[in-house]
């Protein structure tokens, strides 16, 4: 598990001087949420300038939506399951 990098000290001091500290419960909740998510993936946050690869069309979760729609329709017509990725529209009399 890795923690988020610390912001520069100057920013920290400036923030503490200007805004009231959030309550303990809120702080604990935020830390817990970030810790759980970071712990689940064991990853370092990806910076905006590191996201070129993730923006590729073949790195999208559904890289060919029309093809996915056609095949989801086939599987929905021949099997008893549906759902998963999301839900398409346009019901049909096929199951």
């Amino acid at each position: 598990m890795s923690s988020a990098p610390n912001p520069p000290r100057a920013v920290c001091r400036k923030r503490r001087a200007r805004t009231p500290a959030p309550g303990f419960a809120v702080r604990a909740g935020r830390i817990a949420a970030v810790a759980v998510l970071a712990g689940l993936c064991g990853c370092t946050p990806v910076k905006p300038w590191q996201r070129g690869t993730l923006a590729r069309s073949d790195m999208q979760l559904v890289s060919d939506p029309l093809q996915a729609g056609l095949e989801d329709h086939i599987y929905f017509s021949k099997e008893a399951s549906s759902g998963g990725r999301g839900f398409g529209g346009g019901g049909c009399g096929c199951n």
Binding site: V34, L37, L40, C41, C43, T44, P45, V46, K47, P48, W49, Q50, R51, G52, T53, L54, A55, R56, S57, D58, M59, Q60, L61, V62, S63, D64, P65, L66, Q67, G69, L70, E71, H73, I74, Y75, S77, K78, E79, A80, S81, S82, G83, G84, R85, G86, F87, G88, G89, G90, G91, C92, G93, N95
Partner: protein, 437 residues
């Protein structure tokens, strides 16, 4: 400004992916791009003279700037061929009165009875609009309309995605509602009533009204479907991400297949008569889904996903899907694909009914899609980018469904098991796609 555009595009793409909205525009174009067009055509055929489908789909999208997008998709679906009618095979030819078409047909001995008059043309239109109400939020709305000879569906929904954790995490939620209208050829039949030579709503030896449609006097019956979805997408590294989804779907109303029947057989599996199937008038499906994508070898993409589905008809299923995109040069790719699927049968799935059982059961269906089977898909896709604006692809897949015998009635089960009561299905399809940006 330029530095922000790719970042926002990547976040928007991930956000929209969570919600099932086509993200291609975000991933590939910057601000100021205009129209994009996508087209995919399916050619599908099953073995044994079964179903054939031709289904072209065309989609147009306009990038309106500021992360706003308007899209429309038109689908045409032309089906023909033969489909199992639910009756069980026997050692003598069987004649049916043709519930789905008005034309009678005879099935040879030992073969799975199939109605050869299964043909229809369906048209569908989907519209969607998406926009970003804030720096970290995306919303989209869609409406869907589909119509065919005996079935109409209209629906709509909304989806919302929220980024946080510096855009590394996206939460998504969506809801969809559809109102369907079934208007079967030959009219409705009382569930578990006997099929007669006439198609005008034959009454038989009792049976209960398990569906929402009522008797043969109704012109149409309704079905409503509500879908809910919630998911999270997490960036794991500059080259990997994972998505976890939960979805639930509740259908209510007329859920029977109005054309499907069951054989009522004696102890020797000889069919005495046939009755129409009966399903519950509600169904709740829930699915948990996980997908992982990883950029590998500096050029390729590994994609693996798993779905578990369970419903209140007693069906549980597992789906594992694996594909590897091999970008062998900057423009072309090969993408092998494998899928494994397994489901068990619905509680009320029966191969056939013993004589008199149709007066005692509440629900029964012999629809092979509600039976137990394992299915394998293997395929290969090839694609190529012709220029910065045009790319095309072709995908060939082979599907094989292997039935597992289950749902045998207590008296005739032994005799029925001598026939192929859990037949396999072979199908192949080709999808041709082309995109213009």
């Amino acid at each position: 400004m330029q530095l922000n555009v790719p970042r926002r595009s990547a976040l928007a793409a991930a956000a929209m992916s969570v919600l099932g909205v086509a993200p291609a525009t975000y991933a590939q174009t910057g601000a100021g791009a205009g129209w994009s067009f996508d087209s995919s055509t399916l050619l599908y055929a099953e073995g044994d003279g079964r179903v054939k489908v031709l289904e072209p789909k065309v989609s147009a999208a306009k990038d309106l700037g500021n992360d706003r997008r308007l899209g429309a998709t038109v689908t045409l679906d032309v089906l023909s061929g033969a489909t199992p009618n639910g009756a069980a095979p026997y050692s003598r030819p069987q004649t049916f009165s043709g519930a789905s078409s008005g034309g009678g047909y005879t099935t040879p001995a030992f073969q799975l009875p199939k109605d050869p008059n299964f043909n229809d043309t369906r048209g569908a239109l989907d519209l969607d609009y998406s926009f970003a109400p804030g720096l970290r939020d995306h919303l989209s709305f869609s409406t869907n309309f589909s119509t065919e000879k005996d079935y109409t569906s209209i629906g709509g929904g909304g989806r919302w995605a929220h980024d946080f954790n510096d855009g590394n995490t996206t939460l998504g939620a969506g809801i969809n509602y559809a109102s369907d209208s079934v208007n079967p050829i030959g009219g409705f039949h009382v569930p578990l009533s006997r099929m007669t030579a006439s198609t005008g709503g034959g009454e038989g030896g009792g049976g209960e009204d398990g569906g929402g449609g009522g008797g043969g006097g109704d012109a149409s019956a309704g079905k409503r479907v509500v879908d809910l979805m919630a998911g999270v997408t997490q960036l794991l590294s500059p080259g990997a991400l994972v998505q976890l989804n939960y979805s639930a779907s509740r259908s209510s109303g007329y859920l029977n297949d109005p054309y499907k029947i069951l054989s009522v057989v004696d102890a020797n599996a000889a069919p005495q008569y046939y009755v129409y199937e009966a399903r519950p008038n509600h169904r709740l499906k829930q699915a948990a889904f996980a997908q992982y994508k990883q950029f590998v070898r500096g050029a390729d993409v590994l994609d693996v996903s798993y779905r578990f589905m369970t419903d209140d008809w007693g069906i549980k299923s597992h789906t594992v899907d694996l594909s590897y995109r091999w970008n062998y040069n900057g423009n072309g790719y090969f993408e092998p694909h494998l899928r494994w699927y397994r489901q068990n049968a619905a509680d009320f799935y029966r191969v056939a009914l013993d004589q008199g059982a149709e007066t005692r059961v509440q629900f029964a269906s012999a629809d092979p899609r509600l039976g137990a089977f394992t299915a394998y898909t293997a395929g290969l896709k090839y694609g190529n980018r012709l220029s910065s604006d045009i790319d095309w692809s072709v995908r060939l897949e082979y599907y094989r469904q292997l039935g597992q015998t289950t749902g045998l009635p207590p008296i005739a089960g032994n005799a029925l098991s001598h026939f192929d009561v859990a037949p396999s299905l072979n199908a192949g399809w080709l999808i041709l796609g082309v995109s213009f940006r």
